[in-house]
Symmetry: C2
Subunit: 340 residues, 2 copies
DNA sequence: CTGTTAGCGCATTCAG
DNA sequence: CTGAATGCGCTAACAG
């Protein structure tokens, strides 16, 4: 009767039931050896284990995910892979999640909320068990997708008042702190160099302005804002722009260390003494900051810890627990070096 | 008769058959709208499409992968995520593979063949349709896994004589070229700073030695090899070691720009004129090289292009085509700047 | 402790 | 152009 052609054996890979057949048992028992070995008798277990080893059996995650409605994967969305700030964060994430048996699906949004939305849409098809996402600057559609997916989400890098799980630091306070430091050092014409202009940079800018304001100052001519991605080269360029626009600037807060390094290099090239003629501060405390000449004053941000903590919080959520507190502030520290 | 409790509806997500039911058709037709829309009548199609949009249907990749025995994902194994050399390579990979509808599973091996093996084992469970891997320094077990999986593989970064698909450059030749450049500039006591000591560094070292040899020279006292991961700080440290061990060194080839930058900074600190007293060359042409003072002579390596080309080659293999040639040499270029 | 039954969501095969 | 039947590989639920 049945005249249909069977599909060719698909993957060619060894399956649970092939192992079962070899041993003379059922596939569910083999499955148990893998997932709950204490439920299988010593004898059968060792027998099955040896066949598994012999045949080089390798479980099929797609089948498991389908049957269990859990993928054991986590989507991680960061703005950029070529910025070590985020790759260090990823290391913290990876260390926690891999130890717990999860895979990470890494997505680079290129600092674009639209790209983030599109990546999220793609990754949701994989039914991630959890999501780590950078900041709070999501499109409405992204927020909607997150909500309707009912997948636990932890936001990284910033703090918020909203009712969301998050691990980060107060970017505003950090901008405030480093600007206050410059004020304490006696600088008065303090400029600001900003690039990329993502939400964290804008918060630092707001902190900078607030610090000037509380000192009874303001210095709008010293603010250079450029939406281009940050780079050392851009730092050099923007210094040029600043010196034309506000030649009397005596100190400069750069929104990140890349810009600050570019500024330092350009100062060397132009023979501008740092900090004698111009003090320079950065943000993030990248590896070069401690070695460049003069060494760079900056704000150290605990990226690894953010990733680690956020991933731990997500683990709790994926286990059905409720992390307390829901928001963790990992803080920052002012690193005063030679450049100021 | 049937008294078993049905499983609770698993994911809660909208499925093909729910959409089919709403429209009054079968799930296979809905599937066709997604995968082969030209096979469905205009009328049914628009009707189905609107229900898909209305319900926010999202395909389940696990189910699709299981049914098609294809995951539409590619595993990418690189030594380090915190080295921009590899993140730029990943950008090339990503641009090609995402455009072709593939997801990338990124694995950071920490320069360890054993870690690489363990990651590969984990990722093979996802049935990747292809694999991109760095270099040729795999464990025997890794080679075996790759072979038996029958998944297409492309190796990145280096060249080989073996019969494998690969995209890279002759690390030996690059080391040779930059050392020849130093020789042409008249330097004779040319040292070598190496860290990490991965296969690519060792090839560059071999190229360096060959160049000295063909000039009738050798300078073993000027070779500093340290298995520690590269960093700017390590460059500074190793310079100190070199100056003790071989104070008459007049030029230095650092196995990468991180070390070279550390050397340059430390020279500034110690008041050693570059290139007056010591010429310095790096490798990779990282962003800082063109801006540091003095600007750094180095070898530019086309990382993005390697990733892009390797991914394109892998696409061909996954489509059942045979890439010709099987090995692509993307070359390198000597960038001569102020430091030599 | 072990096995049977059923089904996860989708796509291939073949028959209309 | 559309649909029914079937199975991908695995595991939850239940019954022995």
């Amino acid at each position: 009767m049945a005249s249909r052609k069977p599909r060719p054996t698909q993957s060619g890979r060894v399956t649970l039931s092939e192992i079962a057949e070899r041993v003379g048992t059922s596939s569910i028992t083999v499955s148990r050896v893998l997932n709950a070995p204490h439920l299988v008798s010593e004898e059968l277990r060792t027998q099955i284990e040896s066949v598994i080893a012999e045949l080089g059996y390798m479980p099929n995650r797609a089948a498991r995910a389908l049957a269990r409605a859990r993928s054991e994967s986590v989507a991680v969305l960061i703005p950029s892979l070529s910025n070590t700030v985020f790759t260090q964060l990823l290391e913290g994430v990876r260390d926690v999640l891999h130890a717990a048996g999860y895979r990470t699906l890494i997505g680079d949004t290129r600092y674009s909320p639209e790209e983030e939305e599109s990546l999220l849409r793609a990754y949701l098809e994989h039914s991630p068990d959890g999501i780590l996402i950078t900041g709070f600057d999501q499109t409405n559609a992204t927020r909607d997708l997150l909500q309707r997916s009912r997948v636990p989400v932890v936001h990284m890098m910033e703090m918020t008042d909203a009712d969301m799980y998050s691990v980060g630091l107060e970017q505003f306070d950090a901008g405030l702190a480093i600007t206050r430091h410059l004020l304490e050092r006696g600088y008065r014409s303090i400029g600001f160099l900003g690039a990329q202009l993502d939400p964290r940079v804008m918060e630092r800018l707001a902190g900078y302005r607030a610090a000037l304001h509380e000192a009874g100052l303001n210095y709008p001519v010293g603010e250079i804002l450029d939406p281009t991605p940050s780079s050392i080269g851009l730092g050099a360029t923007l210094l040029g722009r600043l010196l034309e626009q506000a030649p009397h600037t005596d100190a400069l807060f750069c929104c990140n260390d890349d810009l600050a390094l570019g500024v330092l290099f350009e100062c060397q090239r132009r023979g501008i003494p740092v900090p004698g003629k111009l003090a320079v501060a950065g943000f993030n405390d990248l590896a070069a900051a401690a070695w460049v000449h003069p060494t760079l004053t900056t704000v150290a941000t605990p990226r690894y810890e953010i990733g680690h903590t956020a991933a731990s919080m997500l683990l709790q959520l994926m286990n059905g627990e409720t992390p307390v507190p829901a928001k963790k502030d990992v803080g920052f520290s002012l690193i005063v070096r030679e450049s100021t």
